[in-house]
Symmetry: C2
Subunit: 113 residues, 2 copies
């Protein structure tokens, strides 16, 4: 058993996001990511081989999906992002740290017809 | 892609905990559990076949482990509970809802020597 606190302590603000792996076991990774105003590079899209679940814990952010939808994240908002669901981080708050809890796991293989 | 808010809305308080499955895919389940003062029955211990990750989102709770450790959970505290790590919910707040985010996934098979 391991325990910790997502907000205590927070890493110091820097030019890059801060990523901590909380759990990595059985093909599953649970990570804390802290953003300080970063966003995805222009024209960059995540196209991941893994399924992802995201919870915004603190701060604020906007995720953009390639079907044109924007999701505004405030604390408590979660997003289920299946593998290969293309998305990007359009913005994160630049006046407070934005804390994400993310979980990644192997994509379920789809049966071929 | 699906999205929601862990705290909006909350279910009405009742005699039982309220469980909502947010994601169930690829052997992984993500659930929101809302407690209203419930705790595990006397002498009951969870002994799960799955690995579990828990984040306390709102309210407060105490988890007890069978090695004698108590973990006091306040918002932001997470606990990684490997399969068969025996534990119980010793208490949850009785003056506000306690919201848990839990993730379960299949236990990695240990190689036998």
């Amino acid at each position: 058993m391991q325990t910790g606190h997502l907000l205590l302590p927070l890493p110091p603000a820097g030019p890059d996001e801060a990523l901590d792996t909380l759990v990595a076991r059985g093909g599953v990774r649970v990570e804390r990511i802290v953003s300080f105003g970063q966003s995805s590079p222009d024209d960059f899209w995540y196209d991941q081989a893994e399924d992802e679940f995201v919870l915004l814990v603190s701060g604020s952010a906007t995720l953009r999906f390639d079907d044109g939808r924007d999701v505004a994240l405030t604390p408590g908002v979660w997003v289920d992002i299946p593998a290969h669901c293309r998305h990007r981080v359009e913005a994160t708050s630049d006046n407070e740290p934005t804390v994400w809890l993310t979980m990644f796991w192997p994509c379920e293989t789809q049966p071929t017809s």
